[in-house]
Symmetry: C2
Subunit: 82 residues, 2 copies
């Protein structure tokens, strides 16, 4: 079966605090950068799945995102072809 | 100045081991998923910058990625409009 490249991006929901992003945002001025209006950090997952076609691979990745890659209580995710 | 949404994706270079991605890849079969041919995990940064225009914001984000968000010795990054 052909390998299909998929990208899953996982971000904390907007109402959940993001200490990592906050730390980077706070560091910007002292490093000589303009302050950012917002800055949030999540996960970027690149995977290759063997599937009959792109649609099947996307559905497989969707289930993986829901059950393994993201915590849907506090995180949003997006799945797309890579 | 208008706020411009930017996305920076940071991935370990292909020749650098990715233990986090490896751990997730190894977990797939025991969770009932088909094995992935490859799976690598990086950072997904969403930021809003105040800049004169999109081009200026992209250049600012490019410098941030190079100096702060990524370690160019072991990581590749991509910068795009969000």
């Amino acid at each position: 079966m052909p390998a299909v490249k998929i990208v899953v991006d996982v971000m904390l929901k907007p109402e959940i605090l993001d200490p990592q992003g906050q730390a980077v945002a706070n560091a910007l001025p002292s490093l000589g950068f303009e302050p950012a209006r917002s800055l949030r950090i999540g996960k970027h997952v690149e995977l290759e799945l063997e599937a009959a076609d792109e649609q099947a691979a996307l559905e497989q990745a969707q289930t993986m995102a829901e059950k393994l890659l993201a915590n849907p209580v506090i995180e949003d995710y997006s799945v797309r072809l890579g």
